[in-house]
């Protein structure tokens, strides 16, 4: 699979090295389990109304796999990702980490768990502490990776490199406050964090929703390269089934809090069984035509 030649804006030099789907046929079910869940449920109670945001979902994410969770707005994707991150308690059901029941009952255990898992949150505007300069976000990442004692210049070089992966010039952003950045810049900076952190698991909740199509292709390239390099498990949340097909190993289709279909990307997209999946696919007009990234998303 190749990026469409028509996308001729801002040529990206490493285009030929794109590795999407190079391992498309790799069977991840043989890899060790990374995250899995059994009957994971989350009910929200506000006043008299109860919302079942996530309803008895079962899943198995393997090490190194790129999983997409696809569903329309309000289907419970963000809620599920918050539970996977350990930021929200499931109402019932159990989540397993590396095959063992996940234990994050104390603050120390939580912090230990969070060492290996990172996230790109859906809303970049609320992801920043508005009182801190954006440099802090990246410096935190360097510190977390044990770079606290590096010299100023070394840190600057690392931050500049991370920003270059997401088409940002760090020199232009340094010393700015979040409100001085555009939504897309904020989102790209959140992705830049991942290049500094190189986490074991990445939960990306619509990480490129505000980025222009051209940059998006490059950034996703970079992210997938990183994943190939480090064997990172990526859980990619999107409402865009086309994009999901394009990058994932397996796909979970979510409707009203339930997984209505799941499996290898090709099986799900080329042979959809659930009516909801069929509808999602038919909503993407060019699904069987060559990929044109400029229309994706």
């Amino acid at each position: 699979m190749k990026i469409d030649e028509k996308t001729n804006q801002a040529p990206v030099d490493n285009r030929e090295s794109v590795t999407f789907g190079t391992d498309r046929n790799k069977d991840f079910s043989k890899e060790p389990l990374c995250l899995s869940g059994k009957d994971v449920t989350r009910i929200f109670q506000t006043g008299k109304t109860t919302t079942t945001a996530v309803d008895h979902v079962n899943f198995e994410f393997h090490k190194g796999e790129l999983i997409s969770i696809v569903g329309e707005s309000g289907s419970g994707k963000t809620t599920l990702s918050k539970m996977l991150l350990g930021l929200l308690e499931p109402s019932s059901g159990e989540i397993f980490y590396r095959g063992e029941p996940r234990d994050i009952s104390t603050g120390a255990k939580k912090r230990q768990y969070w060492k290996g898992i990172q996230a790109i949150f859906q809303d970049p505007f609320s992801s920043y502490n508005v009182f801190h300069k954006i440099d802090n976000v990246l410096l935190d990442c360097i510190n977390m990776r044990g770079g606290r004692n590096l010299s100023k210049d070394e840190k600057f070089a690392m931050m500049t490199e991370a920003c270059s992966f997401v088409n940002l010039k760090f020199a232009e952003l340094t010393n700015k406050y979040p409100f001085e950045l555009s939504g897309g810049q904020m989102q790209r900076l959140m992705i830049a964090r991942i290049f500094l952190l190189k986490p074991e698991i990445l939960l990306a909740d619509e990480p490129t929703s505000m980025i222009d199509a051209c940059s998006r292709a490059t950034i996703l390239d970079m992210l997938l390269n990183l994943r190939n390099e480090t064997g990172m498990t990526v859980i990619f949340i999107t409402h865009d089934i086309g994009l999901a097909y394009y990058i994932s190993d397996s796909i979970y289709i979510m409707e009203h809090g339930k997984f209505v279909e799941s499996g290898k990307a090709e099986e799900v997209i080329l042979n959809p069984k659930a009516p909801y999946t069929k509808r999602l696919i038919s909503d993407v007009p060019k699904i069987h035509e060559p990929w044109d990234l400029s229309t994706v998303g």
Binding site: G107, Q118, A119, S127, F131
Partner: protein, 420 residues
């Protein structure tokens, strides 16, 4: 940050409140450098009206200047014509059948009274008139004497003063054209707000009391805000059992009205050990609940924000998250709550003192104590000494008004949706 500060100082409401408040604070700070006497020292006896007082004794010793003011006689008559004489004039005019409709015996009518007298008095006429009974002769003489007295403006009067007694007595005389300059009189004092029931200078006392009440407000407000902030942050951020326990305690404080609690604690402490600081601490300890509640609800809405989540994922400690990711977001709110707490602390002290449960009365005055004294010694009623309580009420009202104005000003800046 800088632009927020600029907005605050461009908010007219905040500025008006701030200026009133600063004027009060500066007065409290600067006044003692000019008037150095102890605010609780007794200068006289009972309520003295506002005015300049000087020693008559010392005035005799001051250099004299000769002055002949044209209104001197009239002024003298206005303050010194005896009531009996005024009545005599009225009766005389009545007998003459003159129009009495707007004449009476009050001070400011003396001028008109004398004018009517001069217009109607006629010596021959009086001599010819017959007055009832054997008093006719006496009456004629009385009227003639009064006429002399009233028309003697040109002639001068001399007063003789004797000092010492026996052989060593010396005499000096003062003419009615002798004047002394007030600032050359050895003992003179201006009391812009008179004195209170203990004869203490009300203005000096009021300035001191304002300072003490502001300190009470600041201490009470700081304690209430810090305690409320701490409880609210812990309950809101940690949640769970910590939240339940803290909110249970807060509920107890809500169910038992703070004021009743205040009175009970206060009463049990006993007046002698109730200093200003004790008073402030007790007020602070009973008024933190609403700050705690509102901080808690703000924290609950913040703790699930993604920047807090990101901070958690970055491995930050609870302390760091609370201080860097939560506290700055509610700081403006806390400042506003603090201002209101200061204001209500001052009011609480006034209420308590009015009930006789204020700080002990021998140390320093407070606004509440001044109100209490005014009430106890009948300034509102029998003495009608408005200067002993009205300025105090005004200061309490102004403090509260300025603080609340600052608060609404801040509110408009921090919550721009309220901007009109």
């Amino acid at each position: 940050m800088k632009s927020t500060l600029r907005n605050i100082f461009h908010s007219p409401r905040f500025m008006v409140g701030f200026i009133i408040f600063m004027v009060m604070v500066l007065t409290v700070l600067i006044y003692p450098y000019f008037i150095t006497r102890d605010p609780l020292v007794s200068l006289g006896k009972g309520f003295l009206e506002p005015g300049t007082y000087f020693s008559i004794y010392d005035a005799n010793n001051a250099s004299t200047y000769r002055m002949e003011l044209p209104e001197a006689t009239m002024n003298r008559l206005e303050t010194s014509l005896p009531l009996a004489d005024r009545q005599l004039i009225l009766d005389f005019l009545k007998a003459k059948g003159a129009d009495l409709s707007d004449l009476d015996t009050s001070n400011d009518k003396v001028g008109e009274l004398i004018e009517a007298w001069t217009a109607n008095y006629d010596e021959a006429d009086v001599k010819a008139s017959k007055y009832e009974g054997f008093t006719t002769q006496a009456k004629r003489r009385a009227l003639a004497r009064l006429n002399t007295k009233l028309s003697s403006s040109a002639s001068s009067d001399v007063m003789t003063i004797t000092r010492g007694d026996g052989e060593e007595a010396t005499t000096s005389s003062i003419s009615d054209t002798d004047y002394a300059r007030v600032d050359q009189v050895a003992n003179a004092i201006t009391l812009p707000l008179g004195t209170d029931n203990f004869g203490r200078d009300t203005l000096t006392e009021l300035v001191k009391a304002t300072g003490v009440s502001l300190i009470i407000g600041l201490i009470a407000g700081s304690i209430a805000t810090l305690l409320g902030l701490l409880v609210g942050l812990l309950a809101g951020y940690i949640g769970g059992i910590v939240d339940d326990i803290l909110m249970f305690i807060a509920n107890i404080f809500t169910v038992i009205p703070g004021f009743v609690l205040l009175i009970l604690i206060y009463y049990s402490v006993g007046q002698e050990s109730r200093g200003v600081v004790t008073c402030a601490v007790v007020i602070g300890l009973t008024s933190w609940v609403w700050t705690a509640r509102s901080v808690r609800s703000q924290v609950i809405s913040l703790r699930n924000r993604d920047h807090v989540n990101l901070s958690k994922l970055s491995g930050h400690s609870l302390f760091r998250i609370v201080t860097t990711d939560i506290l700055p977001y509610i700081a403006s709110y806390v400042v506003m709550a603090f201002i209101l707490q200061v204001s209500s602390g001052i009011l609480a002290e006034a209420q308590l003192s009015l009930l006789g449960l204020g700080p002990k009365t021998t140390d320093v005055p407070t606004l509440g104590l001044m109100m209490n004294w005014a009430k106890l010694f009948g300034a509102y009623t029998s003495s009608n000494a408005w200067w002993a309580y009205f300025p105090v009420i005004l200061v309490i009202a102004l403090t509260s008004f300025s603080l609340n104005l600052m608060n609404t000003g801040l509110d408009q800046v921090f919550n721009p949706t309220l901007r009109d």
